[in-house]
C-alpha cells in the first residue's frame, strides 16, 4: 500500500458540487502535479461534510486544517504555501460568524459546529471516498455482517436490535427491532427487505447525504436486516430527484458484488443476497410504506389500508419489512459494538442519535447529528449559530408537511419522539426549518397545505377534497378576504380530515394548520379581523400608497401599472385605487423619487 505524507479531503456533497468543488478538485490535482507532489499527497473526494453553506470545503490531514469557500484561484496558494512549505493559509480558514472579532479557527475539531455533534450514522460521511469500497472496509465496514453471518443466528440479530431500543428514524418512531421480529416470524419462503429512501419532506436532506457519502453502510445495514428476517432480496427505493445518490449507490452495489459481499454464499455462510435499486418518479405519497411498495411493483403509488401489514403481505404479496435509510445505517454499528454501547447514547425510550438537516433563516445551514434528548436551542444556536442578520428567532418547523412549528418559548425542550409529539409536531425525517420574525405563519400553513393538496394521491375523499377546502380558506385569509368563523371552520375540517383519511399523508395534512393555530392564533386573527399581516408578507393585506410630499406627478407609475389602478394629473399627487390595485409592486420599482410605499 502506498504511503502518503498528507491527505487532502475535498467535500463532494451536492451543496459543494453546486458551489464548484469539482473545478477546485481538478485544479488541485493540476497544482500537485505541477509541483511534483502527486506521489506524496493523496486527494480524496468525500461525501457531505455537513457545513453546506460554506463550500467548497477542503480539509488537510494530518493537521486537520479546515478551509472554507475555496475558489479555483485559491488552490495554488494552498498547494505552494501549506502543502509545500507547511504554512497554512489563514485567510481561507473557518471563521466563527457568531463572534464579533474576525477569528479564524484552524482545526476541524475546534469548530463548534463539529465538536458538539455525536456522529454514529454520519461517522464516514465527509471522511471517506464513498466510491471506494476499500475505504469503507478500512473503517470496520462489512465487519458487522461478517460477525452476524458467522457467529449469530438471525433471531440473535433481531434480539440485539430490539435491545438497542432503536426506533424508526423515518417519522413515526416505531421500534425497529419489533418490526424485524414481525418479519422474522412471518411465514413464507420469499420475503423482502425494503429501504425507504424516498426522502420527500421539503427541507430534509439527511438521507441524501448519507446515500452519497456512505452508501456501503446502507448496503451492510440492508444485509443485516434481511438476514434477520430471512429475506434474500432487498430493494432500495430512491427518489429520482437525487441523481448523485442514485449514482453512488449503483457504484457501491457493483463493488460489493465484485467483492462477493452481495451474491451467493456470502462469507461461506450459505446466505444468498441480492440488492436492487428502484428509482421513484416524483410522488410524495410514495414515502408512505404501502404506496412505496405499489410503486416498486410498477403501479400507481397509492396507499392501501392496513391490515394487511407489510410484514404479512407486502411487495408482490410477500412478507416485507420496510425501514428508513437512517434506521438501516444504524444497524451495522449496533451489531458491531453491541446494544449496550448504543444504549449509552440518548435518553430513556429515545436511544441513539438523530441526524437533522437544518436550513432556512439560519447562520450555518447543514447536517447535524446529535444525541436524542439534546435541546433545540443547542442545535439551532450553539451548533448552527442562530438566526442571521440580527433578526429575531420566531419558530422552527420540524417534521415537514406532516409536522408542526415550535415557537421560541419551547427552545429548551429536549428533542425526543415523545416531546415533539406533545408539542403538536413530530420527529418526521428530521428536517428543521428555522424561521425569523419576517415569516408569516398563516402563509407558511398555506404553503404546506398547497404542498399536501397537490401531492394528495386522490384516492380518499377527506384528503382529496378536505385539503382543497382548507387550502381555499387559507388562501382567502392570506389574500385579505378572511371571514369571521374561518378559524373554527379550519379546526373542524382539520379534525375530520385527521380522523378519517386513509394514510399518514392525509391524517397528518392538518398538522401545520393546527400547530400554527396553537402557537400563533393571534396572527390568524390579525389577518381576519384586523386586515393586517403582522410579518408584512401577505400581499393582499398590504396597501400601496403614494406619499404626497414626494410625488412629482411625473406619471411613470400610472403608465407602468398593468391594471390602470393609478390616476392623477399634472401638478397634483397621483392616487392609487386600492380596489383595482393587485399589489404587484411594479410602480414602487419604477418610481424615480421613492414616493410609493407598501405597508
Amino acid at each position: 500500500m502506498q504511503l502518503y505524507r498528507a491527505h487532502v479531503l475535498v467535500c463532494g456533497g451536492t451543496g459543494c458540487v453546486t458551489s464548484g468543488c469539482m473545478d477546485v478538485h481538478a485544479e488541485l490535482e493540476k497544482q500537485l502535479e505541477k509541483n511534483g507532489l502527486s506521489e506524496e499527497i493523496n486527494v480524496i473526494v468525500t461525501g457531505c461534510v455537513g457545513t453546506c453553506d460554506i463550500g467548497p470545503i477542503l480539509m488537510v490531514y494530518p493537521e486537520a486544517i479546515f478551509y472554507q469557500k475555496v475558489q479555483v484561484e485559491d488552490v495554488a496558494e494552498i498547494v505552494e504555501e501549506h502543502i509545500l512549505k507547511g504554512r497554512p493559509v489563514n485567510r481561507l480558514m473557518y471563521q466563527d460568524k457568531t463572534s464579533e472579532i474576525a477569528e479564524f479557527i484552524e482545526k476541524y475539531y475546534d469548530i463548534d459546529f463539529f465538536n458538539r455533534q455525536t456522529r454514529i450514522v454520519l461517522r464516514n460521511t465527509g471522511v471517506i471516498d464513498s466510491t471506494k469500497i476499500d475505504e469503507y472496509i478500512a473503517r470496520d465496514g462489512y465487519q458487522a455482517i461478517a460477525k452476524a453471518l458467522t457467529e449469530m443466528k438471525p433471531i440473535e440479530v433481531v434480539e440485539e436490535i430490539k435491545k438497542s431500543g432503536l426506533r424508526g428514524r423515518g417519522g413515526g418512531g416505531f421500534p425497529a427491532g419489533i418490526k424485524l421480529e414481525l418479519g422474522h416470524k412471518a411465514d413464507g419462503d420469499q420475503k423482502y427487505m425494503i429501504c425507504n429512501a424516498d426522502e420527500g419532506d421539503p427541507g430534509a436532506f439527511m438521507d441524501r447525504s448519507l446515500l452519497e457519502g456512505d452508501p456501503h453502510s446502507i448496503i451492510e445495514g440492508m444485509m443485516l436486516a434481511s438476514y434477520a428476517i430471512g429475506a434474500n432480496q432487498g430493494y432500495v427505493y430512491v427518489r429520482a430527484e437525487y441523481p448523485l445518490a442514485v449514482d453512488r449507490l449503483v457504484t457501491a452495489i457493483k463493488q460489493a458484488k465484485e467483492y462477493g459481499l452481495l451474491g451467493d454464499n456470502i462469507f461461506g455462510s450459505g446466505f444468498n443476497y441480492s440488492l436492487d435499486l428502484r428509482v421513484g418518479a416524483g410522488a410524495f405519497v410514495c414515502g408512505e410504506e404501502t404506496a412505496l411498495m405499489h410503486s416498486i411493483e410498477g403501479l400507481r403509488g397509492e396507499p392501501t389500508p392496513k391490515p394487511p401489514y407489510p410484514t404479512d403481505a407486502g411487495v408482490f404479496g410477500y412478507p416485507s419489512v420496510i425501514n428508513n435509510v437512517e434506521t438501516i445505517a444504524n444497524m451495522p454499528q449496533i451489531i458491531l459494538n453491541g446494544s449496550d454501547w448504543f444504549n449509552r447514547f440518548g435518553v430513556e425510550n429515545n436511544k441513539g442519535t438523530k441526524v437533522f438537516a437544518v436550513a432556512g433563516n439560519i447562520l450555518n445551514t447543514g447536517l447535524v447529528e446529535v444525541e436524542l434528548g439534546t435541546t433545540l436551542r443547542t442545535v439551532i444556536f450553539d451548533i448552527c449559530g442562530g438566526v442571521p442578520n440580527g433578526k429575531k428567532f420566531k419558530a422552527v418547523q420540524i417534521g415537514g408537511p406532516s409536522g408542526g412549528c415550535i415557537p421560541a418559548e419551547y427552545l429548551d425542550t429536549p428533542i425526543t419522539y415523545d416531546s415533539l409529539t406533545s408539542l403538536g409536531a413530530m420527529m418526521g425525517s428530521g428536517g428543521l426549518i428555522v424561521m425569523d420574525e419576517d415569516t408569516c405563519m398563516v402563509d407558511l400553513a398555506r404553503f404546506f397545505l398547497d404542498f399536501t393538496q397537490e401531492e394528495s394521491c386522490g384516492k380518499c375523499t377527506p384528503c382529496r377534497i378536505g385539503t382543497k377546502r382548507m387550502l381555499e380558506i387559507l388562501e382567502r385569509i392570506t389574500e385579505g378576504h378572511g371571514q369571521p368563523g374561518d378559524i373554527e371552520k379550519l379546526e373542524e375540517l382539520a379534525e375530520s380530515i385527521g380522523d378519517s383519511s386513509f394514510c399518514g399523508l392525509g391524517r397528518a395534512a392538518p398538522n401545520p394548520i393546527l400547530s400554527t393555530l396553537r402557537f400563533f392564533r393571534d396572527e390568524y386573527e390579525a389577518h381576519i379581523d384586523g386586515h393586517k399581516c403582522p410579518a408584512g408578507i401577505c400581499k393582499g393585506l398590504l396597501n400601496v400608497e403614494i406619499i404626497e410630499d414626494k410625488c412629482r406627478s411625473c406619471g411613470i407609475c400610472a403608465r407602468i401599472c398593468p391594471v390602470n389602478a393609478i390616476a392623477g394629473q399634472r401638478g397634483q399627487p397621483y392616487v392609487v385605487d386600492q380596489d383595482t390595485c393587485t399589489r404587484c409592486g411594479l410602480c414602487i420599482e419604477s418610481c424615480p423619487f421613492d414616493a410609493i410605499s407598501k405597508h
Binding site: 429520482a240 430527484e241 437525487y242 421513484g280 418518479a281 447543514g366 426549518i433 394521491c457
Partner: protein, 157 residues
C-alpha cells in the same frame, strides 16, 4: 398528442423492453428510459410499452399521469426547475418565480412560444443550503436573487 414514431425510435423502445421483460415491476424503470429518448412520453410510445410488457394501455397511462416526473407533453429546449421546498420558499423563491415569469412571459408549467424554455417547480432537491435553488438543463444555480434572473437567462438566449 398522437405522433408517429420513427423506425429507429421503435427499435430503441423495443430494446429497452427486452432488457426488462422478465423483471417484476419493471414498468417505472422502463418509462424512465423511454422518456429519456423523447424528453416526454408520446401516446404511441406508451402503447408500445404496454404491448411489449403485456400491461393494459390504460394502466400504463394511469402510471404515467400519476407521477409528476413523467410528461405527456413535449417541453422546451431548456427546462427551468425552480425548487419550491420549504427552505427555498422561506428564502424568497416566489420572488424569483415572478421574475422569471415576467421575463419570459410564461406562467408555471408553460413553455415559451419559441420553444426555448419550460418553467416548472421541482420538489425539494435537498440543496437547502443554497436556497433559493434552481436548475436550467444541467446547470445549477444557488442563492438566486430576483435581480440575478435576467443575467442568468441571458446566457441561454
Amino acid at each position: 398528442m398522437s405522433s408517429k414514431l420513427s423506425t429507429d425510435q421503435v427499435q430503441q423502445i423495443a430494446k429497452i423492453i427486452d432488457e426488462y421483460r422478465d423483471q417484476q415491476g419493471s414498468l417505472i424503470p422502463v418509462l424512465h428510459k423511454v422518456q429519456s429518448i423523447f424528453g416526454y412520453l408520446p401516446d404511441e410510445a406508451q402503447k408500445q410499452v404496454a404491448y411489449g410488457l403485456g400491461i393494459p394501455v390504460a394502466e400504463v397511462y394511469g402510471v404515467v399521469t400519476f407521477y409528476t416526473l413523467f410528461n405527456t407533453e413535449p417541453s422546451g429546449q431548456y427546462i427551468i426547475e425552480l425548487c419550491m421546498g420549504t427552505a427555498c420558499y422561506v428564502k424568497g423563491a416566489v420572488d424569483v418565480q415572478h421574475e422569471i415569469e415576467s421575463q419570459l412571459g410564461i406562467a408555471i408549467n408553460e413553455t415559451t412560444k419559441d420553444g426555448k424554455f419550460t418553467l416548472r417547480f421541482s420538489r425539494c432537491v435537498g440543496a437547502c443550503s443554497l436556497a433559493p435553488f434552481m436548475t436550467i438543463g444541467e446547470d445549477v444555480y444557488g442563492r438566486v436573487k430576483q435581480e440575478d434572473v435576467q443575467r442568468i437567462l441571458s446566457k441561454y438566449h
